[in-house]
Amino acid sequence: MESLAARVRSARTPRARQKDGWRAAVFLAPALLLLILFVYAPALLALGLGFFHYHLLGIGTTWAGLTNFRSALRYSLFWTALRNTLLYALIMVPVTLIGALLLAQLLCGPGKYVGFLRTLILLPYITPVIATAIGWLWIFNPQYGLLNSLMSWLGLPVHQWMQSPTWALPAVAMYTLWHGLGFDMIIALAALASLPKSVSEAAQIDGAGPATIFFRVTLPLLTPTLFFLLVITTIGSLQAFSQIYALSGGQGGPEYATTTLIFLIYQTAFQYYHFSYAAAMAVLLVLLILGLTLFQNWLSKRWVFYQ
């Protein structure tokens, strides 16, 4: 069947085409105006702002050259934040990938009951972060919290969690996994459901055991989905803000242990009002995101299997 759009296009006379030009401009104007104001222009501004000394009041915007970038690179907190950011991503990515696969294996299959359980696991994903982090702060409470109750019941060492420079970042990761793992599970489930049956059945007839089928057949077929999860989890980790704000009481502590780059940028720009300095750091963060994405793309050629 000929598509409607193709038909509409071919039915036009030159005069009508002219008319369409105006109509198109009117139809597109609101969207384009908003995109110019809040995406295109700011994107250009983002690149430029770091090269100036800029003040909100507009007085004395002067050329700064590379000064902002140089002082960012000399700022020890910048490197702490970079380390925290990478460490956080390093915790989140493998745990998310493995967790999503395990959950999907466990919660696959037909039936209303399993479907209901899937709904429960996705539930945290739609809850507001600040509101649900409160329950977790109580869970992390060193004296009365559930987590330490559980740890001591199991005979494991208790920790100070959000008050410990070592355990604060893993605690933030724990919250984020609770909040987002259901989403990754649904994506893994969709991938599992779309796998061709014939391949694993053939392997089974050839005498392959369940473990062999999983590692040699299912897993390779899932690599495109794993790659997708890898990319969105990395980007999500680099963006993590609300949960850090909520769990650290808006401080990024203790001892800067949860100050990631995006948190440092927020503090620099909106608590201390060093806009161009923060803008320079934002450019460095974007370069980091770009670099990681390109690296993952390059690496994916070695392990992602496209049918």
Binding site: L28, W138, Y144
Partner: protein, 279 residues
């Protein structure tokens, strides 16, 4: 063929269900803990190991309700979310229609330029968007929280895909009846696109209702702030009273849980199809 074959054998199906139930319950624990804490009698809150049984002392809710202007914050959030949905749907529908049905010179290139927006990391726009709102004199208003989300590029993409799939006989029939583009869009294309519109609206709703970072940055006046910012302020001011804090947190979570109970099927379907990634 998806799960480990061992797990799928009939006997192990029960084991799978028991394990899955346990895991699902673990995901509910943090919400349950908040509920227990918010309803605890004072004596039970500070006990170790953690108190796990429900009491029914509703006084923290009454007290937290009196501590801030919650109806105002709820209304602010509802207004910001509602306006964002209407605005973003309107701009995206019009743009998608032009990009699928209308003929003009640089259409395909313009579509690519619009899709490029999806590649720009949100972090890059944080500071310049603030500067733009400052220059427009819109800081500390509702509009500062609405306009930057006033067009959904992913929505344009989905709607354009849908419009291009409509059979041409619809347009022919509409043409013969003397239908113009606007009439056709309003009375034929939009009703057919209702499921797509609903999906887009759903993700804008979740994103907007739960947004925190942006309102935190662009607002200082309580009168225009959404509920998440108000709850965060409470966290910092009263970090000691866990019962009230938990009550406030649950109050802010409840509307989302209600909406989820109604539309969880659509949300799961949207994520499965990869539609749920952009707000």
């Amino acid at each position: 063929m998806s799960a480990l074959p061992a797990v799928r054998r009939r006997g192990s199906r029960w084991l799978q269900l028991v394990l899955a139930t346990l895991v699902a319950l673990i995901f509910l624990v943090p919400l349950y803990i908040a509920l227990v804490t918010s309803l605890d009698t004072r004596a039970d809150v500070f006990s170790f190991p953690t108190h796990l049984l429900l009491d029914f002392d509703f006084s923290p809710y009454a007290r937290v309700w009196g501590m801030a202007r919650w109806p105002m914050y709820f209304l602010n959030t509802a207004f910001i979310t509602g306006t964002t949905i209407v605005l973003a749907l309107a701009t995206s529908v019009l743009a998608a229609y032009a990009l699928s049905f209308l003929r003009f010179g640089f259409r395909e290139r313009l579509f690519v330029l619009i899709l490029l927006v999806l590649m720009i990391p949100a972090e890059a726009l944080l500071i310049p968007n603030y500067v733009v709102l400052h220059l427009l004199g819109l800081l500390n208003t509702y509009w500062a929280q609405i306009l930057p989300y006033g067009v959904s590029v992913f929505g344009i993409f989905l709607l354009r895909q849908f419009f291009l799939s409509l059979p041409s006989s619809y347009w022919d029939a509409a043409r013969i009846d003397g239908c113009g583009h606007l009439r056709f869009l309003w009375s034929v294309a939009l009703p057919l696109a209702a499921p797509t519109l609903f999906t887009i609206a759903l993700y804008i709703f979740i994103g907007s209702w739960n947004s925190f970072q942006w309102p935190l940055i662009v607002t200082t006046s309580h009168h225009v702030q959404p509920i998440e910012v108000a709850v965060a302020r409470l966290t910092q001011a009263h970090s000691v009273d866990w019962r009230r804090l938990s009550a406030a947190g649950l109050m802010a979570t409840l509307p989302l849980i209600l909406v989820y109970a109604l539309v969880q099927k659509q949300i799961i379907r949207g994520i499965s199809r990869g539609e749920g990634l952009q707000g």
